[in-house]
């Protein structure tokens, strides 16, 4: 009788271990949010918070989310404000989401505007992070006016390998100069779209934050 008892317990344990071991996350997503903190864009952080809340509500256990700022030298780990690989356990994932939200809120309360806008450096950092997550669907969300303003001596005009990453420009604000000549705005957006698509990436522009579900399409 002991044998039956032990064999039942053992089989149950083996099945659970096998399920935990043989199973693997499928179609995981990783999202890297880049926020422009230059003088012209730093007032838009409330919108960033709204999108991050949407992301936290949408992303599932096993998926990843990171928030980084675009400043004068964005190709750096120190610009990553928060990053989280959500645990496979739902309860842990929920706790991580709360912690992430706290980090975002505290960052939002103390934004220091940067002098320059190194978008390319931020994107390179984002691609590096996203490749490390090994997620099947990778997204870079850029909150910026898309006007790159780099320090003298920085080299940023080279092709980037996006490796299938979806790059989504959200809430691309119009500059004063765009009102003088609206073609500038369109040229800026088109230039980034071209750069992304030439680098084997996918480009999307979402200015209406009520249509965020279109992000995953």
């Amino acid at each position: 009788m002991k044998r039956i008892f032990l064999s039942l317990v053992a089989s149950l344990a083996v099945v659970l271990i096998l399920l935990a071991g043989c199973s693997e996350p499928r179609n995981t997503r990783a999202v890297y949010v880049l926020v422009d903190t230059s003088g012209t864009y730093s007032q838009q952080f409330e919108k960033v918070q709204g999108v991050i809340r949407y992301m936290l509500g949408t992303l599932l256990p096993g998926e990843s989310l990171a928030l980084a700022r675009i400043d004068s030298e964005s190709f750096s780990e120190k610009d990553i404000i928060a990053r989280m690989n959500f645990d496979l356990r739902p309860s842990m994932a929920n706790a991580q989401k709360r912690a992430f939200l706290e980090s975002v809120d505290s960052f939002g309360a103390n934004i220091a505007p940067s002098k320059y806008t190194d978008i390319t450096g931020g994107i390179l950092q984002a691609i590096e992070y996203l490749n490390e997550t090994k997620a099947t669907e990778r997204y870079i969300l850029i909150f910026s006016d898309l006007k790159e303003d780099i320090k003298e001596g920085q080299v940023r005009d080279f092709p980037i390998n996006f490796n299938g990453t979806h790059t989504v420009a959200i809430n691309v604000t119009k500059l004063q100069s765009d009102n003088i000549d609206p073609r500038e705005y369109q040229q800026r957006v088109d230039a980034w779209a071209e750069r992304v698509e030439q680098g084997n990436g996918h480009w999307k522009l979402i200015n209406d934050l009520n249509r965020l579900e279109g992000l995953w399409e």
Binding site: L19, C22, S23, E24, R53, P61, L88, R89, K97, R98
Partner: protein
């Protein structure tokens, strides 16, 4: 070959050309009538024979399946009847042990009561008072003539007084004895009542046993019918099997609903153990769903073994063959496991509620709303826990309809198979007959095309008959070929066989 080819035999005369071709064809057909008839006939005959053979094979298979069904049905019915009789005997044994185990003491009580009643009865017997011995002497003295003597008169008077006193005393004694008898008889009353009550109890018990014996008689009768393999018992078992099939099917469907509810209780919290976003390999099956299904399956299996060890079901002969001690041990092990799993499920159900509440709170935080604890939120938590605890025990009873379904499915599927084979055989025979009919139609159509030469042939034969009227051996007037005759003979043969 276009239509023009046929019309160009004679230049400028298409109709005549066609007529010539048709005439030629009719002549050829007339000449080839006999072999063509034979070819068509042999073709349809071979098709029909092949189909007949096929139908026979199918019917043979149907017969074998029917016999196998009958054997299975009767064997199952026999086993079922044996079990029912065995159960009935077990009940009788229990009743005998319960009711008649006290029979010796009851008998002793009855004997004692009867002895007491007997003693009381003996004591209450009426003994007529004997006449005093000196009565004769007194009679003799009383007959002495007094002759006027006062002494004698006094003596007689004294005797008379003494006698009177003695009689009075005797009467008093008699009355006292009667009183005592009545007292004794009065004392017998409770014994009589007790005796009556005891006998009534015995009667009730005996009646209960008689009823059980009547039930056993009925079951033995049906068992005997099954053993004798009567058609009545087969029909009875067959209809019973169909009923069982549908009832157990409905019960299993309800059990599936219960399993689904159970699954919903367990699947979400299982994500905490095996990962909520983990899938099996490259499939779209969640690992947590599989783990939840596994737990539910284990509960069902535990229930199967539990019912098996109690003897309610007999799906595993090995368990049935084990001695009672081992079966009891299996029962307790399975029950312990069920309790453990019920506890696990209750805690998982509670965890599910917690996770759902946590997710809801997080959504509220993310949407910027204030987190509000819903009123009486403990009620669904407790309800889920209670369901999680009870459902494994409910699922344990799935074993009963499952057994009935498996056993009845054997016979029902057999019956279905028999019906299917019968339909196939009928269809094959129908196709064979249709083919034969088509052959006949083709032969008749062939004759219709060449009806002109046939008519001539008939007229020619009639003329020969007229010429040979004087001859004794007349020529048979018949325009049917040998094949046509065979066809008709075949049809008659088929009709006879069908009859």
């Amino acid at each position: 070959m276009t239509f023009e080819f046929w019309t160009r035999l004679i230049d400028g005369q298409p109709a005549l050309s066609l007529l010539l071709w048709v005439s030629g064809l009719i002549v050829v057909m007339y000449v080839a009538r006999q072999p063509v008839h034979q070819i068509i006939l042999s073709l349809v005959r071979s098709v029909r024979n092949a189909l007949r053979l096929m139908a026979q094979s199918v019917m043979l298979a149907e017969k074998q399946l029917r016999n196998r069904n009958r054997e299975v049905l009767l064997a199952q019915g026999q086993e079922h009847a044996e079990r029912a009789i065995e159960r009935e005997f077990q009940r009788v044994e229990a009743q005998v042990n319960r009711d008649l185990s006290g029979y010796p003491s009851l008998q002793r009580d009855l004997k004692e009561q009867i002895t007491r009643i007997d003693e009381d009865y003996t004591q209450s017997g009426e003994v007529p008072p004997k006449p005093p011995e000196w009565l004769k002497a007194i009679e003799a003295v009383a007959e002495i003539p007094d002759n006027g003597s006062s002494v004698v008169g006094k003596i007689l008077s004294d005797i008379h007084n003494t006698l009177k006193k003695s009689l009075q005393k005797s009467i008093q004694e008699y009355r006292r004895a009667n009183r005592e008898r009545h007292t004794l008889l009065k004392k017998m009353m409770p014994y009589w009542r007790s005796l009556t009550s005891n006998l009534n109890t015995v009667e009730k018990k005996i009646t209960g046993l008689e009823q059980r014996a009547a039930v056993i008689d009925n079951q033995m009768q049906s068992y005997d019918d099954i053993r004798q393999q009567t058609d009545f018992s087969e029909r009875l078992l067959s209809s019973s099997s169909m009923t069982q099939f549908f009832i157990s099917g409905v019960a299993l469907c309800l059990a599936l609903v219960g399993m689904y509810v159970n699954f919903q209780l367990v699947a979400l919290p299982m994500g905490e153990m095996v990962g909520a976003s983990s899938y099996l390999g490259s499939s779209s099956i969640r690992a947590s769903d599989v783990a939840a299904l596994f737990i539910i399956s284990v509960e069902v299996i535990l229930g199967l073994f539990l019912m098996e060890s109690v003897g309610v079901t007999r799906l595993f002969p090995i368990i049935n063959l084990l001695d009672d001690h081992k079966r009891k041990a299996i029962f307790w092990i399975m029950l312990t496991f069920l309790f453990i799993f019920a506890g696990i499920e209750a805690s998982l159900a509670y965890m599910r509620d917690m996770l759902a509440a946590d997710s809801k709170a997080l959504s509220q935080v993310l949407s910027g709303a204030e987190v509000v604890e819903p009123a009486l939120s403990w009620i669904p938590s407790v309800a889920q826990m209670a369901m999680g605890f009870t459902l494994p025990f409910v699922l344990a009873f799935v074993a009963i309809p499952l057994e009935a379904f498996i056993y009845s499915f054997r016979t029902v599927s057999g019956l279905m198979g028999v019906w299917l084979l019968h339909i196939i055989a009928v269809l094959i025979r129908f196709i064979g007959n249709v083919t034969y009919g088509v052959g006949r139609i083709i032969i008749n159509a062939y004759d219709l095309v060449i009806f002109i030469p046939l008519k001539f042939e008939r007229s020619f034969k009639e003329k020969i008959i007229v010429k040979n009227e004087s001859v004794e051996d007349p020529v048979e007037l018949n325009d049917e070929t040998h094949a046509s005759k065979e066809l008709i003979a075949d049809e008659d043969d088929l009709k006879e066989k069908t009859k």
